[in-house]
């Protein structure tokens, strides 16, 4: 199969489930122009298109990973519909929506499942802020341990702690602070 052509819809689903880098790239490249066309011809910029499109790809990604993605329509239509909805929402927030959107593809009626997604986005934003406030070396310790799945031994060596207990204590304090920062944010 030609790698530059749009992957089939089931290829995309399996690719995402298998964390396939190439499939992600192919699907991204294949449908970006469609979304770019939608955004730039409806009062948006190329950067807006990038934001919206990546958000839609993440929606797709989470749906597939969450196991609740059913290919009830074409993937292309799904992505277009999500982008369309997200862009309308964005336009409304910016008060730039004139009540008229120029469409280039068919689209699905809006569903409300992007709500849970934006709830999660909110938590991620809070987490990002909390991590930023946390400062070094706590941030790196937390990221290494909880995100990158490094062992305490590796962290110990990396930060030059004399024994694992010191590192554990440090990590515990860092986690407590992160929680505090996280829940302090509104």
């Amino acid at each position: 199969m030609n790698s530059s052509a749009a992957p089939t819809d089931s290829e995309v689903v399996f690719g995402i489930l298998n964390n396939s880098e190439t499939v992600l790239k192919r699907v991204y490249v294949a449908y970006f122009p469609m979304v770019l066309q939608l955004i730039i011809n409806n009062n948006g910029t190329a950067d807006d298109a990038k934001d919206i499109y990546q958000e839609a790809i993440i929606v797709l990604y989470n749906k597939v990973k969450g196991g609740n993605f059913e290919l009830s329509s074409k993937l292309k239509t799904f992505l277009y519909s999500v982008c369309r909805k997200l862009w309308l929402k964005r336009l409304n927030q910016m008060s730039r929506y004139g009540g008229d959107i120029k469409d280039f593809e068919e689209y699905l009626p809006a569903e409300d499942d992007t709500e849970t997604n934006s709830e999660r986005d909110l938590q991620f934003t809070k987490m990002e802020g909390a991590l930023k406030l946390l400062g070094e070396p706590c941030k790196t310790i937390i990221e290494d341990y909880y995100i990158n799945n490094m062992s305490m031994q590796e962290i110990c060596e990396r930060f030059g702690y004399t024994n694992a207990d010191n590192a554990k204590t440090q990590k515990y304090k860092c986690l407590q602070r992160l929680k505090k920062l996280f829940f302090q944010q509104n």
Partner: protein
């Protein structure tokens, strides 16, 4: 058990790092103590969030890397829906266009103002227009009136000197005394006389009229009349071009009159195709006089003039003389009129004065009594 130790236990429990014995003890603790149970759930959720956040950041990083490889600018160029060039032109240059338009409007208005156009009221424009319509009609009337006038104004004078009521001109068609003149000259005639340049009068009778083309043919039926010499001129059947030099002769006065000019239009008043417009000074009384080209061919009969314009006269085309002559010939066996044709007449190579001298004998004053 300290918080630190509890957290460590929870983590090891969630990671499945506890030994069988430790796990059983911890699960027992969890069942007894609701706080511990909550702590486990809370920890699992929070660390899960950290992990998901990390994955999201990772995904976004990957997407950004992919995005870097796309030539967005080229796509933007391709995918933008370009409005029509008019709209684009307006968007890009609307300020310039507006300025240009304002200047244009201002220029027009100021030109109109300075040329005094605004001083005229709408009402006067309206009357001007109606006057124009009026004037068209008046021109027509005038032409008619002029035709009359060419005769009428001579009335008083001739009433004194001669008993004739109208005077016009005419010229010979044949040696036998057929004379062509304008219909309006002889229209209401009770009796007709023709007088030549020498002052000799002969009685004549009307033999043919054609009011539509203002042509009449009369014949000298006087015993005194001895016939004419051979006609020096030919009759031109074809049309004569605009610009051609022409001469005319006639009797606006008792004396012979000569004028020269040129054909100024191939049609007469209001596009009348049966006549020429001739730029030649004419006076009343010349109606029915011949119109000749420079070679001495008869090309028309003077019939009237336009009052409004200087020296704009009308002449019926000579082809209608042919028609009239044919009609006369067809009507009777005796009255046969044969017109001289051909390109060269006896006048062709003569000087103007010699031409006129020759023509004198064939042009008549037509005197009308009623």
């Amino acid at each position: 058990m300290s918080e630190l130790q509890l957290t460590e236990l929870i983590e090891r429990y969630l990671n499945g790092d506890l030994s069988e014995e430790e796990r059983e003890r911890f699960e027992a603790l969890r069942r007894e103590n609701a706080t511990v149970d909550n702590r486990i759930a809370e920890h699992a959720h929070f660390t899960g969030l950290i992990k998901q956040y990390g994955q999201r950041v990772e995904l976004e990083k990957r997407l950004n890397e992919i995005h870097q490889e796309i030539d967005v600018n080229a796509l933007v160029e391709d995918l933008t829906v370009h409005p029509t060039w008019v709209v684009r032109m307006w968007r890009n240059h609307h300020s310039k266009i507006s300025v240009a338009a304002s200047i244009a409007v201002f220029a027009i208005l100021s030109t109109l103002y300075f040329t005094g156009r605004f001083n005229k009221t709408t009402a006067s424009n309206y009357t001007a227009l109606s006057r124009k319509i009026e004037s068209v009609r008046r021109t027509a009337e005038n032409a008619q009136r002029t035709n009359q006038a060419l005769l009428n104004s001579l009335k008083p004078r001739h009433r004194v000197s001669t008993p004739s009521n109208f005077v016009g001109s005419g010229f010979a068609l044949t040696q036998s005394g057929y004379i062509v003149t304008a219909y309006h000259v002889v229209k209401n005639a009770d009796s007709l006389y023709v007088q030549n340049a020498l002052g000799e009068s002969y009685h004549a009778k009307l033999v043919y009229t054609e009011p539509t083309h203002d042509i009449a043919i009369i014949k000298i039926d006087d015993k005194e009349f001895a016939g004419l010499d051979k006609l020096p001129y030919n009759f031109k059947r074809s049309k004569t071009d605009v610009g051609e030099d022409v001469i005319t002769l006639g009797f606006p006065r008792d004396d012979f009159y000569y004028a020269k000019g040129y054909i100024s239009s191939a049609t007469g008043l209001e596009g009348d195709t049966s006549a020429y417009q001739v730029s030649v000074p004419v006076y009343e009384g010349i109606s029915g006089g011949p119109l000749l080209d420079a070679k001495g061919n008869i090309i028309g009969i003077i019939s009237g003039k336009q009052t409004k314009t200087e020296s704009a006269a009308f002449a019926v085309k000579s082809s209608y003389i042919f028609k009239a002559a044919r009609s006369v010939s067809a009507d009777s066996t005796q009255n046969i009129i044969t017109l001289n044709k051909g390109n060269k007449s006896a006048l062709t190579n003569l000087s103007r004065t010699q031409q006129i001298k020759k023509l004198e004998n064939y042009v008549f004053m037509v005197k009308v009594y009623n």
